[in-house]
Amino acid sequence: MRRVGAVAFNTYRETVRERVLYNLVFFAILMTLSGVLLGQLSIRQDEKIIKDIGLASMDLFGTLIAIFIGVGLVNKEIERRSLYPLLAKPLAREEFFVGKFLGLCFTLLVNVAVMTVGLWLTLAATGRRPDPHLLAAIFPIYLGLMLVVALALVFSTLTSPALAAVCTVGVVLVGRFSDVIRSMREVAPGVPRWMPNGLYYLLPNFRNFDFKDRVVYGDPVSAQTLLWVTAYALLYVAVLILGGLAVFRTRDLQ
């Protein structure tokens, strides 16, 4: 366990020093600030726009960070052979893999926290009260990001970073269109009956993590709902990690 923590901490250090991270965070904050400007241009929407933009940029940029850093996590280590001296140590491959995952998750946690503070500050600067209810949308967003990391990690054990990025983006997009998939037969009646439902349950359903509209309109979000959504995220992540481990454990590192 301590070794997993050591890998996680090092991964956090590694990702935090990646310049792409800062660029993305910078843009996220910029987007949130632009919400102030847009609020001026629109009618009666300033607080809503700031919240919408703030949450959307957390979701969007968090996903981009998760994908672009996630796909390089494992195969960069293999390609550059930085893994070699480490695996000779008493570090099991499983510990390494899980440690990488946790490290990036922690980095994302820090990012989300920074962006949350940025959003609250922006709201405060325009004279609104920072709204703790926003956390009911931010927490599910973070769960979704963890799922994206797990996806990126699994794809990165299977193929090159570029291809893994494409695959991850693909799955994430399809996962967001889960309702379209479910009602696929409306558009394409020839599709066999099991397919829409099968795909719907199999693919990660990112709509589960979208509480933004509800929270911005002040609707309550029940703790029970959040619990179920958390369970979904953790279970799906577990499936992905186990799958990734199965591949990673027996792979020859050329």
Partner: protein, 320 residues
């Protein structure tokens, strides 16, 4: 497998093939039925040209690659065991250490993986960096290191746990003479401490100076193991003498000389051992100077070419 307590490494029948080619993939045997023993306290050289399977062997031992068949034990433990890893160090070929870390941070990370305590990690890291001559750069990001400096840092991480045995893959590659000297010193130190060193190289002089025994690998197969002298069949009756300052005529008339060859301004003479003293006197009288005297041995390359023949030598010339 029934290993004796003094056995540091036992390999039995290790084999590994890779698929090569893009459209028509065919198997390429990297290792064929390797069987090998290394005793504790030995300095063991693993020799062979590029592509002979040296790195593959090390990768299998370290668990980076899985063999098709065969088994091995390190320090009496099976490969899959975790315990031996606490007692062993590994320096891969062309090591890549995270370039966003400083060597201190890297060694601290390694120390954590061994479960060392924070103060122990710090002390050991500083001591090691000192030993490998990187004290001045210990807070510099590894990104800025020269190849030689990275190699030294790699050596440091291999020693972080004060191992009983080290596996070094081409440890002197990329090093300047001072660096090579460092590696040799470290190996000698370890031997003096009764530790075991297993290092692979294609540089003969390193093996010569350091190894107790060697194994010679070619095309994935073990060609020979034993003392280097035994393998290369040194001619003990003759010695090789390098001299300078001799005219061609003077060289012609030196006594006890079996063969002579001019190498630039110098002469390479093969001298009968029992007449060495007289030959040296003759050289001095002729106004020349003796530069060195050493046993006659063929080069490793000559040995390979002779043992295998040019055809198979070409076939085995696959890049590692």
């Amino acid at each position: 497998m029934g290993s004796t307590p003094s056995s540091a490494l036992r390999i039995r029948g290790l084999s590994k093939s890779y698929m090569v080619g893009h459209l028509r993939r065919r198997p390429h045997a990297a290792l064929r039925g390797l069987t090998l023993d290394v005793e504790q306290g030995e300095v063991f050289g693993y020799l062979g040209p590029n592509g002979s399977g040296k790195t593959t062997t090390l990768k299998i031992l370290m668990g980076l690659v899985f063999p098709d068949s065969g088994e091995a034990e390190i320090l009496g433990c099976p490969l899959s065991d975790r315990l031996w890893r606490y007692r062993v160090g590994y320096l891969p070929e062309h090591p890549y250490l995270y370039d966003y870390l400083t060597p201190r941070e890297y060694l601290d990370y390694v120390g954590r993986l061994f479960g060392m305590r924070a103060d122990a990690r710090r002390r050991r890291a500083d001591a090691l960096l000192d030993r490998v001559g990187l004290s001045h750069a210990r807070d510099l990001a590894l990104r800025r290191f020269s190849k030689g400096m990275v190699q030294r840092a790699g050596l440091a991480q291999a020693l972080m746990n004060d191992p009983e045995m080290v596996f070094l893959d081409e440890p002197t590659s990329g090093l300047d003479p001072a660096g090579r000297r460092l590696v040799r010193d470290v190996i000698v130190e370890m031997k003096a401490q009764g530790k075991t060193v297993f290092f692979s190289t294609h540089i003969l002089s390193d093996a010569e100076t350091l190894c107790d025994r060697v194994a010679v690998l070619r095309g994935g197969e073990l060609l020979a193991t034993g003392r280097l002298d035994d393998i290369l069949r040194i001619d003990v009756q003759h010695l090789e003498l390098l001299a300078s300052g001799l005219s061609a005529e003077a060289a012609e008339h030196l006594p006890h000389v079996r063969a002579r060859q001019s190498v630039g301004e110098r002469w390479r003479l093969e001298v009968e051992e029992r007449g060495l003293g007289e030959t040296i006197q003759a050289i001095t009288r002729a106004g020349g100077r003796v530069l060195s005297v050493q046993p006659i041995r063929q080069s490793l390359e000559e040995y390979f070419l002779r043992e295998i023949g040019p055809a198979r030598a070409a076939e085995s010339g696959v890049v590692d």
